[in-house]
């Protein structure tokens, strides 16, 4: 069997490696024999991330992109050396965390060297007085959180992919957890970082609560998507495990009512840890047994922390919900969510029926949030083949929201799945931009969204490209993502 038996999706512009044996021997010297492979079985394992169209390809025996070498460095110096070698030889390097990214960020579309960060998996220290934890960036999220929990803390960063994503991946994609309305997103949580730059230089952003020391350069690497540097270590805020939790839910007649209720809560500087609004379709899907929520918009809240504060937050939350025509639905819907929140079955269920399915999370200010929601639904419903478009809203700010759309459908006759998929994405993003929203809330750009970056950023995108060029003149670090449109436009 040869890997050539698998149809390759991204086959253009692959790097041509002149002297593979030489690179092999140098890589082996850098990382050691045990941390290096070109075996078919390892190469095939790194041909994908969790981009949903990739699951359709997987069952059809297609592979998205293919690397030439896999490495599992154990020290920051090894990473630095790999990057220096890659610059000399002009070979792409792709950082790989846990492969849960959903925008193709970790797919080696041009080939090259995978740097799997899994061996950077240690918790270095917890500092109770400063309320910080320092850990290596390859650590799995759940393993970090379990460690914190046993010591009486939480990071408050609980993405749905907690079980299958890494700290470095969170930083790379500016991730957001389910409890983010209280604890913040990853950029609010990271206080310090160690990064290897594309040319191998190691830099350190010291851990500090806040400083006024010129521009906040560290933020460049939060959302850098593995294109500007490889994060090897980070210090995060942590919190003592909450003393009390209040579980609250209300059903509203319209999405607008629910938006108003949540907006008014946040306006009072009340930050429930979890707020989730489900549109009518998603309410029907997740809460079919709740009579009060029939044909309504369900909203669930979790307030947590100091018990006196929680009591106050709970009472204001209830007051605002009731004022906005919310009907009490009790604790059960929240308990149901808590029980099922990591039970991901959709990615497995759709591809065998050739259903193309994906989620697109976008952001907007409050004043156009409802417009973004309705426009996306209306325009998606025009697409031939789309069976459903639904949404929930799970990240909130006093100034706006993150809306999470899910769509599914079957490509009409003559359309490839990728073409249909891209049409759905195009339509959603166009509607979002027209309504004044932003194209991504927390999944990042990767391959899937690079097409709209100029539109999103305007001429600031030129500045971003220049920064990339300064840091990575040979364009070796995770090329083909963010800055250029590598989606298979030719197939459209």
């Amino acid at each position: 069997m040869d890997l050539e038996d698998f149809e390759l999706i991204y086959k253009e512009n692959r790097v041509k490696i002149k002297d593979k044996t030489k690179i092999e021997s140098k890589l082996k010297t850098i990382v050691g024999l045990n941390n290096y492979s070109t075996k078919k079985i390892d190469i095939l394992a790194y041909t994908k991330d969790s981009t949903l169209i990739g699951f359709n390809w997987e069952i059809e025996g297609k592979i998205a992109g293919i690397a030439d070498f896999i490495t599992w460095p154990e020290t920051i110096e090894q990473i630095s050396e790999i990057l220096k070698l890659a610059n000399q030889e002009k070979i792409p390097v792709i950082p790989y965390g846990e492969g849960s990214g959903v925008v193709g960020g970790a797919i080696p579309i041009y080939g090259g060297i995978i740097i799997d960060m899994k061996k950077f998996n240690k918790v270095i220290t917890i500092n109770d007085k400063n309320l910080t934890v320092t850990a290596e960036a390859g650590i799995n999220g759940m393993n970090l959180e379990r460690y914190l929990n046993t010591n009486g803390y939480t990071s408050g960063h609980i993405p749905q992919s907690l079980y299958t994503s890494s700290l470095g991946g969170w930083i790379a994609h500016r991730a957001a957890g389910q409890f983010s309305t209280k604890y913040g997103k990853i950029e609010d949580i990271v206080l310090g970082m160690e990064v290897v730059l594309p040319q191998g230089e190691i830099i350190n952003f010291k851990t500090i609560a806040r400083a006024s020391t010129g521009p906040q350069l560290d933020k460049l690497f939060i959302g850098g998507e593995g294109t500007l540097g490889i994060v090897t270590k980070a210090t995060l805020k942590i919190w003592p495990s909450p003393e009390k939790r209040a579980l609250i839910s209300y059903a509203f007649p319209t999405i607008e009512n629910s938006f108003n209720a949540v907006r008014e809560i946040l306006r009072e500087q009340i930050y429930p840890a979890v707020v989730r609004i489900y549109d009518k379709s998603e309410t029907a899907r997740h809460f079919p047994d709740i009579d009060n929520a029939k044909d309504k918009v369900m909203v669930i809240f979790i307030c947590e922390g100091n018990s006196r504060l929680v009591d106050l937050e709970e009472s204001i939350t209830r007051e605002k919900c009731e004022k906005n025509t919310g009907i009490e639905c009790g604790e059960h819907p929240v308990e149901h969510w808590l029980e099922t929140r990591f039970r991901v079955t959709e990615t497995s269920s759709m591809p065998p029926y050739k259903i193309v399915f994906d989620t697109i999370e976008v952001a907007s200010l409050w004043d156009n949030a409802a417009d973004v929601y309705h426009r996306v639904l209306e325009s998606m419903n025009q697409i031939k083949g789309v069976l459903m478009t639904t949404a929930h809203v799970s990240h909130f700010y006093p100034n706006g929201v993150g809306i999470y759309f899910s769509f599914g459908g079957v490509p009409p006759k003559g359309n490839s799945d990728l073409k249909f998929y891209q049409e759905c994405w195009d339509t959603t993003i166009k509607a979002v931009l027209e309504a004044g929203g932003s194209i991504a809330h927390h999944h990042g750009i990767g391959l899937n969204r690079s097409h709209w970056m100029d539109n999103e950023w305007g001429n600031a995108m030129n500045t971003l490209r220049q920064i990339k060029k300064v840091l990575d003149p040979n364009n070796i670090l995770n090329p083909g993502k963010i800055y250029i449109d590598t989606w298979k436009r030719s197939e459209i």
Binding site: D42, A45, I59, Y96, E98, N121, A284, T345, Y353, M388
Partner: protein
């Protein structure tokens, strides 16, 4: 999921589907009808294709707790990837002759932590066993498996020689049945490597005045390795022989010091059509019962050097027999004993590396897994590790460096119990 539950789960889609145009609906219906034609192999196969597909298309939601993945820290060892390779082998996308890929189908331990977290309740090793069935049927059983089968056939045990015959030189007393025992103490092949444990168990049973036999002259392996390898012919042969031996003792209760034997005698035999109608329990469970019935009494306090201990819960006791209490209850009755729990304990215990086929397929992997577990136990700051499974005790020993063997002591629960009776 039952039909009613499935219909309920997807009810929300009905209004959305009704809105779709006719062509879209008919494409969808066609896709539903043709799922097997599109994605299942032709001809005969045993692989559980439906569930392999589900698992391979999952974003590896159990990866953080998978022992083999955490030991190797590579995507190649991730649960969903194993299922993906299983699927590709089954549909012929990867050739059975490609041993690199076939071998991966054996690199699972039987710990099944995947099952704890899996939304589908899958145990990956069980899915891979169905792939192993096809590998065997097509004549591609790996050599490391053939070797084990050879040993079973030649010596009736897991070693190249009959390990039960070593009882005399190890000073283990053999008690042959006269057909009217209360209990058959079913000693595992692996347990024979720990004569002190067997001696302790025998002494405890004697102290309680139990009428029991060990039948070491007739004793053979339970056939566990053949079940793991899925050489079902050999497995059933062992099941039948064991059934005969067990029935010849007249005992109503079968106790074993090896949780692997219990799994095989209880569950695997029955699945293979050989049911043993006896109570089959672990020695720990039986000893707890004896303590409750006051047939054995803890009279002494624990010697100082054994005062502080930690527990390694064997996967098969905590997740298969669902019993994390017996061992703790026994220890709890010992005066002066201080138990320091490791972070991963009870049903969240981690594997010692030595269960299933992984240690034959990739010894380094098993050792790494053992080291991971030993490190977790060491984090308790305690240097006595108590367990209740000979394979665990073997695996943990592999996890210790030569230089650490003096410092750390791996003991079976019976070795502690015997000190306080």
């Amino acid at each position: 999921m039952g039909i009613e539950e499935t219909l309920n789960k997807y009810k929300w889609m009905v209004p959305l589907l009704q809105k779709a145009d006719r062509e879209t609906r008919s494409t969808l219906m066609k896709n539903f009808r043709q799922r097997k034609k599109n994605f299942f192999p032709e001809g005969e196969f045993k692989a559980d294709v439906d569930n392999l597909i589900k698992c391979m298309l999952c974003p590896n939601m159990c990866r953080f707790d998978c022992g083999t993945l955490q030991a190797t820290l590579t995507e190649t060892m991730s649960p969903a990837y194993k299922a993906r390779i299983g699927y590709y082998l089954t549909i012929g996308k990867i050739d059975y002759a490609d041993s690199e890929f076939v071998d991966l189908m054996y690199k699972c331990t039987n710990e099944e932590t995947c099952k704890v977290w899996c939304p589908f309740d899958f145990s990956v090793v069980s899915l891979l066993e169905t792939v192993r069935d096809d590998i065997n049927a097509k004549g591609f059983m790996p050599d490391f498996c053939k070797e084990q089968i050879e040993k079973l056939k030649n010596s009736n045990t897991i070693e190249g020689y009959n390990i039960f015959e070593t009882y005399k030189e190890k000073g283990i007393e053999n008690i042959e049945t006269k057909g009217k025992d209360d209990v058959f103490y079913y000693i595992g092949c692996e347990s024979m490597k720990f004569p002190e444990v067997i001696k302790a168990n025998i002494e405890i049973l004697k102290t309680a005045g139990i009428k029991f036999s060990t039948n070491l002259d007739k004793k053979i392996c339970c056939g566990g390795p053949a079940f793991n390898i899925r050489d079902m012919e050999t497995a059933i042969e062992f099941a039948n022989k064991n059934k005969e031996l067990i029935e010849s003792t007249g005992a109503k209760i079968i106790i074993s010091d090896c949780p692997g034997c219990i799994l095989t005698l209880k569950e695997r035999y029955e699945k293979a059509g050989v049911k043993i109608e006896k109570e089959i329990i672990h020695t720990t469970q039986y000893f707890m019962k004896l303590i409750n019935e006051e047939r054995i009494k803890i009279t002494k306090s624990i010697p100082e050097e054994y005062r502080k201990i930690t527990i390694h819960d064997p996967c098969l006791i905590s997740r298969n027999l669902n019993d994390t209490e017996s061992i703790r209850n026994i220890l709890g009755k010992i005066q002066g004993l201080e138990l320091v729990e490791p972070i991963y304990n009870n049903e969240n215990t981690h594997c010692c590396g030595w269960s299933g086929t992984a240690h034959w397929a990739d010894r380094d992997l098993a050792i790494k897994q053992a080291q991971n577990r030993v490190n977790e136990l060491k984090e308790t700051g305690v240097n006595i590790f108590i367990s209740a499974c000979p394979l665990c005790e073997l695996g943990l020993a592999y996890g210790l460096k030569e230089t650490e063997k003096e410092k750390y002591n791996i003991l079976d629960i019976s070795e502690i119990l015997i000190k306080v009776l």
